[in-house]
Protein backbone atom coordinates (compact mmCIF):
# COMPACT_ATOMS: atom_id res chain seq x y z
CA UNK A 1 0.00 0.00 0.00
CA UNK A 2 1.29 3.46 -0.90
CA UNK A 3 1.96 5.86 1.96
CA UNK A 4 -0.14 8.57 0.31
CA UNK A 5 -2.69 8.26 -2.45
CA UNK A 6 -4.94 10.59 -4.37
CA UNK A 7 -7.77 8.90 -6.22
CA UNK A 8 -9.84 10.57 -8.93
CA UNK A 9 -9.36 14.07 -7.57
CA UNK A 10 -11.46 16.77 -9.16
CA UNK A 11 -11.24 20.47 -8.37
CA UNK A 12 -12.81 23.39 -10.11
CA UNK A 13 -13.05 27.11 -9.38
CA UNK A 14 -16.29 28.36 -10.85
CA UNK A 15 -16.42 27.24 -14.46
CA UNK A 16 -12.69 26.56 -14.60
CA UNK A 17 -11.69 22.92 -14.13
CA UNK A 18 -8.27 22.92 -12.45
CA UNK A 19 -7.84 19.23 -11.60
CA UNK A 20 -9.61 16.44 -13.41
CA UNK A 21 -9.47 12.82 -12.38
CA UNK A 22 -6.01 13.12 -10.86
CA UNK A 23 -4.59 9.86 -9.52
CA UNK A 24 -1.30 9.96 -7.66
CA UNK A 25 0.49 7.49 -5.46
CA UNK A 26 3.56 8.17 -3.32
CA UNK A 27 5.55 5.26 -1.91
CA UNK A 28 7.23 5.43 1.49
CA UNK A 29 10.92 6.21 1.40
CA UNK A 30 10.86 7.59 -2.14
CA UNK A 31 11.28 11.02 -3.61
CA UNK A 32 8.34 11.60 -5.92
CA UNK A 33 8.14 14.47 -8.34
CA UNK A 34 5.29 16.34 -9.96
CA UNK A 35 6.15 18.38 -13.00
CA UNK A 36 4.29 20.30 -15.61
CA UNK A 37 4.20 23.69 -17.30
CA UNK A 38 3.06 26.86 -15.55
CA UNK A 39 -0.67 26.84 -14.95
CA UNK A 40 -0.89 23.06 -15.26
CA UNK A 41 -2.46 22.71 -11.80
CA UNK A 42 0.57 21.51 -9.84
CA UNK A 43 0.28 23.95 -6.96
CA UNK A 44 -3.49 23.55 -6.79
CA UNK A 45 -2.87 19.82 -6.61
CA UNK A 46 -0.56 20.40 -3.62
CA UNK A 47 -3.12 22.68 -2.00
CA UNK A 48 -5.76 19.98 -2.34
CA UNK A 49 -3.48 17.22 -1.07
CA UNK A 50 -2.44 19.25 1.99
CA UNK A 51 -5.84 20.62 2.91
CA UNK A 52 -5.82 24.22 1.75
CA UNK A 53 -8.60 23.41 -0.69
CA UNK A 54 -11.07 20.58 -0.30
CA UNK A 55 -11.41 18.40 -3.39
CA UNK A 56 -14.78 18.54 -5.16
CA UNK A 57 -14.60 14.81 -5.69
CA UNK A 58 -12.18 11.99 -5.06
CA UNK A 59 -10.34 10.45 -2.18
CA UNK A 60 -7.09 11.35 -0.47
CA UNK A 61 -5.58 8.64 1.68
CA UNK A 62 -2.69 8.72 4.13
CA UNK A 63 -1.75 5.12 4.94
CA UNK A 64 -5.24 4.11 3.95
CA UNK A 65 -6.91 6.72 6.18
CA UNK A 66 -9.09 9.21 4.36
CA UNK A 67 -7.91 12.80 4.88
CA UNK A 68 -9.66 14.48 1.95
CA UNK A 69 -11.43 17.66 2.94
CA UNK A 70 -9.82 17.89 6.38
CA UNK A 71 -8.52 21.35 7.29
CA UNK A 72 -4.75 21.89 6.93
CA UNK A 73 -4.07 21.84 10.66
CA UNK A 74 -5.65 18.40 11.02
CA UNK A 75 -3.73 17.07 8.04
CA UNK A 76 -0.53 18.59 9.41
CA UNK A 77 -1.08 16.88 12.74
CA UNK A 78 -1.45 13.55 10.94
CA UNK A 79 2.08 13.96 9.62
CA UNK A 80 1.78 15.82 6.33
CA UNK A 81 4.13 18.80 6.15
CA UNK A 82 4.75 21.19 3.33
CA UNK A 83 6.70 24.16 2.10
CA UNK A 84 5.31 26.86 -0.16
CA UNK A 85 6.27 28.28 -3.52
CA UNK A 86 6.00 31.77 -2.06
CA UNK A 87 8.08 31.94 1.12
CA UNK A 88 6.00 31.34 4.23
CA UNK A 89 7.91 31.92 7.45
CA UNK A 90 7.38 33.71 10.74
CA UNK A 91 9.41 36.70 9.65
CA UNK A 92 9.42 38.62 12.93
CA UNK A 93 10.85 35.62 14.72
CA UNK A 94 14.29 34.13 14.96
CA UNK A 95 15.37 31.12 12.95
CA UNK A 96 15.16 28.98 16.08
CA UNK A 97 11.66 30.13 16.98
CA UNK A 98 10.41 29.26 13.50
CA UNK A 99 11.53 25.70 14.13
CA UNK A 100 10.36 25.56 17.76
CA UNK A 101 6.83 26.55 16.85
CA UNK A 102 6.57 23.61 14.47
CA UNK A 103 7.83 20.95 16.90
CA UNK A 104 5.08 18.53 17.97
CA UNK A 105 6.26 18.77 21.59
CA UNK A 106 5.84 22.54 21.49
CA UNK A 107 2.43 22.15 19.89
CA UNK A 108 1.45 19.81 22.71
CA UNK A 109 1.99 22.75 25.10
CA UNK A 110 -0.16 25.11 23.08
CA UNK A 111 -2.70 25.58 25.85
CA UNK A 112 -0.10 26.45 28.48
CA UNK A 113 -0.50 30.15 29.11
CA UNK A 114 1.56 30.66 32.24
CA UNK A 115 4.70 28.60 31.66
CA UNK A 116 7.70 30.02 29.84
CA UNK A 117 7.75 29.09 26.16
CA UNK A 118 11.46 28.62 25.72
CA UNK A 119 12.64 27.35 29.07
CA UNK A 120 12.89 23.71 27.99
CA UNK A 121 16.43 22.93 26.89
CA UNK A 122 15.32 19.63 25.34
CA UNK A 123 13.03 21.47 22.93
CA UNK A 124 15.79 23.86 21.95
CA UNK A 125 18.16 20.94 21.37
CA UNK A 126 15.58 19.27 19.15
CA UNK A 127 15.16 22.50 17.17
CA UNK A 128 18.94 22.72 16.79
CA UNK A 129 19.02 19.19 15.41
CA UNK A 130 16.51 20.21 12.76
CA UNK A 131 18.58 23.26 11.90
CA UNK A 132 21.60 21.01 11.59
CA UNK A 133 19.73 18.84 9.10
CA UNK A 134 19.02 21.82 6.85
CA UNK A 135 22.47 23.34 7.21
CA UNK A 136 21.54 26.30 9.40
CA UNK A 137 23.62 25.45 12.46
CA UNK A 138 24.86 28.59 14.15
CA UNK A 139 22.13 30.77 12.67
CA UNK A 140 19.63 30.10 15.50
CA UNK A 141 19.39 33.61 16.84
CA UNK A 142 19.23 35.50 13.58
CA UNK A 143 15.90 36.98 12.54
CA UNK A 144 14.57 34.72 9.82
CA UNK A 145 13.94 37.74 7.62
CA UNK A 146 17.66 38.51 7.54
CA UNK A 147 18.64 35.17 5.98
CA UNK A 148 19.60 34.90 2.33
CA UNK A 149 16.93 33.62 -0.04
CA UNK A 150 18.52 30.19 -0.25
CA UNK A 151 18.81 29.93 3.52
CA UNK A 152 15.18 30.97 3.88
CA UNK A 153 14.26 28.13 1.54
CA UNK A 154 16.28 25.79 3.75
CA UNK A 155 14.54 27.19 6.84
CA UNK A 156 11.15 26.61 5.24
CA UNK A 157 12.09 22.99 4.73
CA UNK A 158 13.33 22.94 8.33
CA UNK A 159 9.98 24.21 9.58
CA UNK A 160 8.29 21.39 7.66
CA UNK A 161 10.77 18.83 9.00
CA UNK A 162 10.32 20.05 12.58
CA UNK A 163 6.80 18.66 12.50
CA UNK A 164 8.33 15.14 12.21
CA UNK A 165 6.37 14.47 9.04
CA UNK A 166 5.52 11.11 7.57
CA UNK A 167 5.49 12.79 4.18
CA UNK A 168 6.99 16.09 3.12
CA UNK A 169 5.60 18.16 0.23
CA UNK A 170 7.94 20.76 -1.29
CA UNK A 171 6.34 23.27 -3.63
CA UNK A 172 8.83 24.52 -6.23
CA UNK A 173 11.76 24.59 -3.80
CA UNK A 174 14.19 25.93 -6.43
CA UNK A 175 11.97 28.88 -7.24
CA UNK A 176 14.10 32.02 -7.14
CA UNK A 177 17.31 30.15 -6.39
CA UNK A 178 20.58 30.59 -8.28
CA UNK A 179 22.69 27.72 -9.58
CA UNK A 180 24.75 27.31 -6.43
CA UNK A 181 21.74 27.47 -4.11
CA UNK A 182 19.90 24.95 -6.31
CA UNK A 183 22.85 22.58 -6.04
CA UNK A 184 22.85 23.01 -2.27
CA UNK A 185 19.15 22.25 -2.19
CA UNK A 186 19.64 19.11 -4.26
CA UNK A 187 22.28 17.99 -1.76
CA UNK A 188 19.92 18.75 1.12
CA UNK A 189 17.13 16.69 -0.44
CA UNK A 190 19.60 13.88 -1.09
CA UNK A 191 20.41 13.85 2.63
CA UNK A 192 16.76 14.07 3.67
CA UNK A 193 15.61 11.24 1.40
CA UNK A 194 17.28 8.77 3.74
CA UNK A 195 14.83 9.71 6.48
CA UNK A 196 11.70 11.10 4.84
CA UNK A 197 9.18 10.43 2.11
CA UNK A 198 9.29 13.50 -0.11
CA UNK A 199 7.07 14.86 -2.86
CA UNK A 200 8.44 17.75 -4.93
CA UNK A 201 6.65 19.99 -7.39
CA UNK A 202 9.17 21.44 -9.74
CA UNK A 203 9.34 23.09 -13.12
CA UNK A 204 13.13 22.73 -13.24
CA UNK A 205 13.20 19.36 -15.00
CA UNK A 206 16.93 18.86 -14.67
CA UNK A 207 16.65 19.30 -10.92
CA UNK A 208 13.66 16.98 -10.67
CA UNK A 209 15.15 14.26 -12.83
CA UNK A 210 18.23 14.36 -10.64
CA UNK A 211 16.46 13.86 -7.30
CA UNK A 212 13.22 11.93 -7.99
CA UNK A 213 12.59 8.19 -7.99
CA UNK A 214 9.27 8.60 -9.79
CA UNK A 215 7.69 11.55 -11.54
CA UNK A 216 4.12 12.39 -12.51
CA UNK A 217 3.55 14.90 -15.30
CA UNK A 218 0.50 17.15 -14.95
CA UNK A 219 -0.90 19.18 -17.79
CA UNK A 220 -4.29 20.86 -18.08
CA UNK A 221 -5.13 19.49 -14.64
CA UNK A 222 -4.60 15.88 -15.62
CA UNK A 223 -1.83 13.37 -15.05
CA UNK A 224 -0.59 12.73 -18.57
CA UNK A 225 2.43 10.58 -17.81
CA UNK A 226 4.02 8.84 -14.84
CA UNK A 227 7.13 6.77 -14.30
CA UNK A 228 10.80 6.74 -13.42
CA UNK A 229 12.98 9.56 -14.72
CA UNK A 230 14.60 7.11 -17.14
CA UNK A 231 11.25 5.97 -18.51
CA UNK A 232 9.92 9.51 -18.72
CA UNK A 233 12.96 10.82 -20.55
CA UNK A 234 11.81 8.87 -23.62
CA UNK A 235 8.19 9.96 -23.24
CA UNK A 236 7.16 12.16 -26.15
CA UNK A 237 5.12 14.49 -23.94
CA UNK A 238 8.04 15.08 -21.62
CA UNK A 239 10.38 15.60 -24.52
CA UNK A 240 8.03 18.14 -26.01
CA UNK A 241 7.59 19.71 -22.59
CA UNK A 242 11.34 20.06 -22.28
CA UNK A 243 11.32 21.94 -25.53
CA UNK A 244 8.63 24.20 -24.19
CA UNK A 245 6.11 23.07 -26.77
CA UNK A 246 3.61 21.93 -24.19
CA UNK A 247 3.13 25.37 -22.69
Amino acid sequence: MALFEARSIHKRFGARVVLENVNLSFEAGQVSGIMGPNGAGKTTCFHVLTGRYAPDRGEILLEGQSIGGLPPQRIARLGVARSFQVMNLFDDSTVLENILLALPDFRARRHKALTAAFADAALIDEAREVLDQVGLTGREWEPSVSLSYGDRRALEIGVALAARPRILFLDEPTSGLGTEATLNLARLIARLRQRYTIVVIEHDMRFLFRIADRIAVIHWGQVIAEGTPAALSTNKWVQRSALGELV
Partner: protein
Amino acid sequence: MLTLSDISPRSTAWVTPQMLVLALVMLSAPLWLGPVGLYQYLGIEIAIWMVYALGFNLLFGYTGLHSFGHGAYLGVGGYAFGLFQHHVGTSLVGGLAAAILASALAGMIVAAAVSHRRGIYFALLTIAFGQVFWFSAIKLHWLTGGEDGLLNIPRPALDLGVVQVTLSDNLSFYYFTVAVLGLCVVALWRIVNSPFGRILQAIRQNEMRASFIGYEVWRFKFAAFVLSAMFAGLAGGLFAMAQESAYPDVMSLHQSGLIVMMVLVGGGLVSFWGPVLGVVLYFVARDVLGALTETWLLWYGLMFVAMVMFRPEGLAGVLHRLRRRPPSAAQTRPVTSGGA
Protein backbone atom coordinates in the same frame (compact mmCIF):
# COMPACT_ATOMS: atom_id res chain seq x y z
CA MET B 1 10.15 48.47 11.31
CA LEU B 2 10.48 47.02 14.78
CA THR B 3 8.10 44.31 15.87
CA LEU B 4 7.00 42.87 19.18
CA SER B 5 9.31 39.96 18.53
CA ASP B 6 12.29 42.28 18.16
CA ILE B 7 11.84 43.85 21.56
CA SER B 8 9.89 41.32 23.48
CA PRO B 9 12.28 39.09 25.40
CA ARG B 10 11.70 35.39 25.88
CA SER B 11 11.66 35.80 29.62
CA THR B 12 11.28 33.01 32.11
CA ALA B 13 11.02 35.47 35.01
CA TRP B 14 7.77 36.21 36.79
CA VAL B 15 8.93 39.67 37.78
CA THR B 16 11.19 41.83 35.62
CA PRO B 17 13.08 45.06 36.33
CA GLN B 18 10.53 46.99 34.26
CA MET B 19 7.76 45.70 36.51
CA LEU B 20 9.66 46.88 39.56
CA VAL B 21 10.05 50.34 38.01
CA LEU B 22 6.32 50.46 37.27
CA ALA B 23 5.55 49.31 40.82
CA LEU B 24 7.85 51.95 42.27
CA VAL B 25 6.30 54.72 40.17
CA MET B 26 2.72 53.65 40.86
CA LEU B 27 3.18 53.00 44.57
CA SER B 28 4.93 56.33 45.13
CA ALA B 29 2.48 58.30 42.96
CA PRO B 30 0.31 59.52 45.88
CA LEU B 31 3.41 61.24 47.25
CA TRP B 32 4.20 63.25 44.14
CA LEU B 33 0.96 63.57 42.17
CA GLY B 34 -0.18 66.52 44.25
CA PRO B 35 3.13 68.40 44.28
CA VAL B 36 3.37 68.23 40.46
CA GLY B 37 -0.11 69.70 40.11
CA LEU B 38 -2.06 66.50 39.45
CA TYR B 39 -4.55 64.68 41.65
CA GLN B 40 -5.23 61.27 43.15
CA TYR B 41 -8.16 60.29 40.96
CA LEU B 42 -5.96 60.63 37.86
CA GLY B 43 -3.81 57.81 39.25
CA ILE B 44 -6.90 55.62 39.57
CA GLU B 45 -7.90 56.29 35.98
CA ILE B 46 -4.41 55.60 34.73
CA ALA B 47 -4.13 52.32 36.63
CA ILE B 48 -7.52 51.12 35.36
CA TRP B 49 -6.84 52.08 31.77
CA MET B 50 -3.47 50.38 31.96
CA VAL B 51 -5.29 47.13 32.77
CA TYR B 52 -7.62 47.78 29.84
CA ALA B 53 -4.84 48.74 27.42
CA LEU B 54 -2.52 45.87 28.33
CA GLY B 55 -5.35 43.37 27.89
CA PHE B 56 -6.38 45.03 24.64
CA ASN B 57 -2.84 44.74 23.33
CA LEU B 58 -2.89 40.97 23.79
CA LEU B 59 -5.36 41.04 20.92
CA PHE B 60 -4.22 44.11 19.00
CA GLY B 61 -0.44 43.98 19.20
CA TYR B 62 0.37 40.38 19.97
CA THR B 63 -2.26 38.56 17.92
CA GLY B 64 -2.53 41.26 15.26
CA LEU B 65 -6.33 41.37 15.44
CA HIS B 66 -7.56 44.91 15.11
CA SER B 67 -10.61 45.37 17.27
CA PHE B 68 -12.20 48.80 17.05
CA GLY B 69 -15.14 48.02 19.29
CA HIS B 70 -13.41 47.01 22.48
CA GLY B 71 -15.12 49.66 24.56
CA ALA B 72 -18.11 47.31 24.55
CA TYR B 73 -16.40 44.93 26.97
CA LEU B 74 -15.27 47.77 29.23
CA GLY B 75 -18.90 48.87 29.35
CA VAL B 76 -20.29 45.37 29.88
CA GLY B 77 -17.88 44.93 32.79
CA GLY B 78 -19.02 48.19 34.32
CA TYR B 79 -22.71 47.35 34.00
CA ALA B 80 -22.18 43.82 35.30
CA PHE B 81 -20.39 45.17 38.36
CA GLY B 82 -23.14 47.70 39.01
CA LEU B 83 -25.99 45.27 38.44
CA PHE B 84 -24.36 42.76 40.77
CA GLN B 85 -24.15 45.37 43.54
CA HIS B 86 -27.74 46.50 42.98
CA HIS B 87 -29.45 43.16 42.54
CA VAL B 88 -27.28 40.44 44.07
CA GLY B 89 -25.36 41.92 46.94
CA THR B 90 -22.61 44.29 47.88
CA SER B 91 -19.45 42.36 47.18
CA LEU B 92 -16.13 43.40 45.72
CA VAL B 93 -15.03 39.96 44.61
CA GLY B 94 -18.52 39.03 43.42
CA GLY B 95 -18.86 42.25 41.46
CA LEU B 96 -15.48 41.97 39.79
CA ALA B 97 -16.09 38.29 39.04
CA ALA B 98 -19.43 39.24 37.48
CA ALA B 99 -17.69 41.94 35.43
CA ILE B 100 -15.10 39.47 34.14
CA LEU B 101 -17.64 36.73 33.42
CA ALA B 102 -20.10 39.04 31.68
CA SER B 103 -17.43 40.51 29.45
CA ALA B 104 -16.09 37.00 28.77
CA LEU B 105 -19.57 35.96 27.68
CA ALA B 106 -19.95 39.04 25.48
CA GLY B 107 -16.47 38.39 24.11
CA MET B 108 -17.35 34.77 23.33
CA ILE B 109 -20.44 35.79 21.40
CA VAL B 110 -18.49 38.25 19.29
CA ALA B 111 -15.41 36.03 18.98
CA ALA B 112 -17.54 33.17 17.67
CA ALA B 113 -18.53 35.44 14.81
CA VAL B 114 -15.21 37.15 14.12
CA SER B 115 -12.50 34.58 14.81
CA HIS B 116 -12.86 33.01 11.37
CA ARG B 117 -12.32 36.41 9.80
CA ARG B 118 -9.25 38.54 9.33
CA GLY B 119 -8.13 41.94 8.18
CA ILE B 120 -10.75 44.51 7.30
CA TYR B 121 -13.66 42.07 7.78
CA PHE B 122 -12.53 41.32 11.32
CA ALA B 123 -12.16 45.02 12.10
CA LEU B 124 -15.53 45.97 10.63
CA LEU B 125 -17.30 43.21 12.53
CA THR B 126 -15.79 44.38 15.82
CA ILE B 127 -17.05 47.89 15.10
CA ALA B 128 -20.50 46.55 14.24
CA PHE B 129 -20.73 44.44 17.39
CA GLY B 130 -19.40 47.34 19.47
CA GLN B 131 -22.21 49.51 18.12
CA VAL B 132 -24.75 46.82 18.93
CA PHE B 133 -23.59 46.74 22.56
CA TRP B 134 -23.51 50.54 22.78
CA PHE B 135 -26.96 50.93 21.27
CA SER B 136 -28.36 48.16 23.49
CA ALA B 137 -26.93 49.88 26.57
CA ILE B 138 -28.75 53.07 25.61
CA LYS B 139 -32.04 51.41 24.73
CA LEU B 140 -32.32 48.80 27.48
CA HIS B 141 -33.30 51.47 29.97
CA TRP B 142 -34.82 49.02 32.48
CA LEU B 143 -31.47 47.23 32.74
CA THR B 144 -28.78 49.83 32.16
CA GLY B 145 -30.48 53.07 33.02
CA GLY B 146 -30.24 54.20 29.41
CA GLU B 147 -28.24 57.34 28.70
CA ASP B 148 -28.32 58.25 32.40
CA GLY B 149 -26.44 55.06 33.19
CA LEU B 150 -26.41 53.03 36.37
CA LEU B 151 -25.98 55.35 39.31
CA ASN B 152 -25.04 54.95 42.96
CA ILE B 153 -22.82 51.93 42.46
CA PRO B 154 -21.10 51.34 45.78
CA ARG B 155 -17.44 50.70 46.33
CA PRO B 156 -17.55 47.53 48.43
CA ALA B 157 -14.87 47.00 51.05
CA LEU B 158 -12.00 44.60 50.43
CA ASP B 159 -12.47 41.65 52.78
CA LEU B 160 -9.13 40.13 53.67
CA GLY B 161 -10.58 37.73 56.22
CA VAL B 162 -9.10 39.17 59.39
CA VAL B 163 -9.54 42.74 58.32
CA GLN B 164 -11.79 44.74 56.01
CA VAL B 165 -10.24 47.53 54.00
CA THR B 166 -12.62 50.26 52.98
CA LEU B 167 -12.15 51.50 49.45
CA SER B 168 -14.45 54.49 49.70
CA ASP B 169 -11.62 57.00 49.73
CA ASN B 170 -9.58 57.49 46.58
CA LEU B 171 -6.21 56.73 48.19
CA SER B 172 -7.14 53.24 49.37
CA PHE B 173 -8.98 52.54 46.13
CA TYR B 174 -5.94 53.71 44.20
CA TYR B 175 -3.73 51.19 45.96
CA PHE B 176 -6.31 48.50 45.30
CA THR B 177 -6.31 49.27 41.56
CA VAL B 178 -2.51 49.29 41.55
CA ALA B 179 -2.54 45.84 43.18
CA VAL B 180 -4.96 44.60 40.51
CA LEU B 181 -2.79 46.19 37.84
CA GLY B 182 0.25 44.39 39.25
CA LEU B 183 -1.49 41.03 39.05
CA CYS B 184 -2.64 41.76 35.50
CA VAL B 185 0.85 42.82 34.39
CA VAL B 186 2.39 39.62 35.75
CA ALA B 187 -0.36 37.45 34.26
CA LEU B 188 -0.14 39.09 30.84
CA TRP B 189 3.65 38.96 30.89
CA ARG B 190 3.45 35.23 31.50
CA ILE B 191 0.83 34.79 28.82
CA VAL B 192 2.76 36.57 26.07
CA ASN B 193 5.91 34.61 26.90
CA SER B 194 4.13 31.26 27.19
CA PRO B 195 3.67 28.72 24.39
CA PHE B 196 0.12 30.05 24.00
CA GLY B 197 1.39 33.62 23.69
CA ARG B 198 4.11 32.74 21.21
CA ILE B 199 1.53 30.96 19.06
CA LEU B 200 -0.62 34.10 19.10
CA GLN B 201 2.41 36.01 17.84
CA ALA B 202 3.05 33.38 15.20
CA ILE B 203 -0.54 33.77 14.02
CA ARG B 204 0.00 37.53 13.78
CA GLN B 205 3.03 36.95 11.60
CA ASN B 206 1.68 34.27 9.31
CA GLU B 207 -1.74 32.78 9.87
CA MET B 208 -1.46 30.33 6.99
CA ARG B 209 1.90 28.96 8.12
CA ALA B 210 0.53 28.54 11.64
CA SER B 211 -2.32 26.40 10.37
CA PHE B 212 0.01 24.32 8.19
CA ILE B 213 2.13 23.41 11.20
CA GLY B 214 -0.91 22.15 13.02
CA TYR B 215 -2.49 25.01 14.93
CA GLU B 216 -6.25 25.60 14.95
CA VAL B 217 -5.86 29.29 14.22
CA TRP B 218 -9.46 30.30 14.85
CA ARG B 219 -9.40 28.75 18.34
CA PHE B 220 -6.40 30.85 19.30
CA LYS B 221 -8.02 33.97 17.88
CA PHE B 222 -11.16 33.12 19.82
CA ALA B 223 -9.19 32.62 23.04
CA ALA B 224 -7.22 35.84 22.56
CA PHE B 225 -10.41 37.78 21.96
CA VAL B 226 -12.14 36.40 25.04
CA LEU B 227 -9.09 36.89 27.26
CA SER B 228 -8.75 40.44 26.04
CA ALA B 229 -12.44 41.07 26.68
CA MET B 230 -12.04 39.70 30.21
CA PHE B 231 -9.29 42.18 31.02
CA ALA B 232 -11.48 44.93 29.57
CA GLY B 233 -14.35 43.69 31.74
CA LEU B 234 -12.17 43.75 34.84
CA ALA B 235 -11.13 47.30 33.97
CA GLY B 236 -14.80 48.15 33.43
CA GLY B 237 -15.70 46.83 36.87
CA LEU B 238 -12.94 48.92 38.43
CA PHE B 239 -14.04 51.93 36.40
CA ALA B 240 -17.60 51.54 37.65
CA MET B 241 -16.22 51.51 41.19
CA ALA B 242 -14.10 54.56 40.48
CA GLN B 243 -17.00 56.54 39.04
CA GLU B 244 -19.59 54.89 41.28
CA SER B 245 -21.67 54.62 38.13
CA ALA B 246 -21.65 53.00 34.70
CA TYR B 247 -22.40 54.86 31.46
CA PRO B 248 -22.91 53.79 27.85
CA ASP B 249 -20.43 56.40 26.68
CA VAL B 250 -17.41 54.13 27.26
CA MET B 251 -18.90 51.71 24.74
CA SER B 252 -19.09 54.27 21.93
CA LEU B 253 -16.98 54.06 18.80
CA HIS B 254 -15.18 57.21 19.86
CA GLN B 255 -14.14 55.67 23.18
CA SER B 256 -13.17 52.41 21.49
CA GLY B 257 -10.96 54.44 19.19
CA LEU B 258 -9.22 56.01 22.17
CA ILE B 259 -7.78 52.73 23.37
CA VAL B 260 -6.44 52.05 19.88
CA MET B 261 -4.79 55.46 19.85
CA MET B 262 -3.29 54.96 23.28
CA VAL B 263 -1.84 51.59 22.36
CA LEU B 264 -0.47 52.80 19.02
CA VAL B 265 1.02 56.03 20.37
CA GLY B 266 2.58 54.16 23.29
CA GLY B 267 4.10 51.53 21.02
CA GLY B 268 1.94 48.50 21.71
CA LEU B 269 2.85 47.08 18.33
CA VAL B 270 6.48 46.78 19.35
CA SER B 271 6.57 46.44 23.11
CA PHE B 272 4.72 44.89 26.01
CA TRP B 273 5.08 48.24 27.79
CA GLY B 274 3.74 50.32 24.92
CA PRO B 275 0.16 50.40 26.25
CA VAL B 276 1.41 51.57 29.66
CA LEU B 277 3.29 54.46 28.07
CA GLY B 278 0.34 55.25 25.83
CA VAL B 279 -2.11 55.46 28.73
CA VAL B 280 0.19 57.73 30.75
CA LEU B 281 0.78 59.96 27.74
CA TYR B 282 -2.94 60.25 27.00
CA PHE B 283 -4.04 61.09 30.52
CA VAL B 284 -1.19 63.47 31.18
CA ALA B 285 -1.92 65.15 27.83
CA ARG B 286 -5.59 65.36 28.76
CA ASP B 287 -4.88 67.00 32.09
CA VAL B 288 -1.83 69.10 31.30
CA LEU B 289 -2.80 70.16 27.78
CA GLY B 290 -6.44 70.28 28.85
CA ALA B 291 -5.55 72.86 31.48
CA LEU B 292 -3.99 75.03 28.81
CA THR B 293 -6.49 74.70 26.00
CA GLU B 294 -9.93 73.26 25.33
CA THR B 295 -8.61 71.98 22.03
CA TRP B 296 -6.21 69.57 23.69
CA LEU B 297 -7.72 66.59 21.84
CA LEU B 298 -6.86 68.28 18.55
CA TRP B 299 -3.22 68.50 19.61
CA TYR B 300 -3.28 64.93 20.86
CA GLY B 301 -4.79 63.86 17.54
CA LEU B 302 -2.08 65.71 15.63
CA MET B 303 0.54 64.00 17.79
CA PHE B 304 -1.08 60.68 16.90
CA VAL B 305 -0.92 61.53 13.20
CA ALA B 306 2.72 62.57 13.48
CA MET B 307 3.56 59.42 15.43
CA VAL B 308 1.91 57.13 12.88
CA MET B 309 3.61 58.94 9.99
CA PHE B 310 7.10 59.35 11.38
CA ARG B 311 7.43 56.91 14.28
CA PRO B 312 4.89 54.14 13.72
CA GLU B 313 6.61 52.04 16.37
CA GLY B 314 5.33 54.52 18.97
CA LEU B 315 6.92 55.86 22.11
CA ALA B 316 8.23 52.45 23.20
CA GLY B 317 9.91 51.99 19.84
CA VAL B 318 11.52 55.42 20.05
CA LEU B 319 12.83 54.68 23.54
CA HIS B 320 14.05 51.27 22.40
CA ARG B 321 15.96 52.75 19.48
CA LEU B 322 17.51 55.40 21.71
CA ARG B 323 18.95 52.88 24.10
CA ARG B 324 19.66 50.09 21.62
CA ARG B 325 23.24 48.87 21.47
CA PRO B 326 24.71 46.58 18.80
CA PRO B 327 23.12 43.20 19.63
CA SER B 328 25.30 40.66 21.29
CA ALA B 329 24.61 36.94 21.32
CA ALA B 330 23.69 37.06 24.98
CA GLN B 331 20.99 39.67 24.36
CA THR B 332 19.21 37.50 21.88
CA ARG B 333 19.22 34.21 23.76
CA PRO B 334 15.68 33.00 24.40
CA VAL B 335 16.06 32.02 28.04
CA THR B 336 16.76 35.14 30.04
CA SER B 337 15.83 36.39 33.42
CA GLY B 338 15.16 39.99 32.48
CA GLY B 339 12.60 41.85 30.49
CA ALA B 340 12.41 44.63 28.01
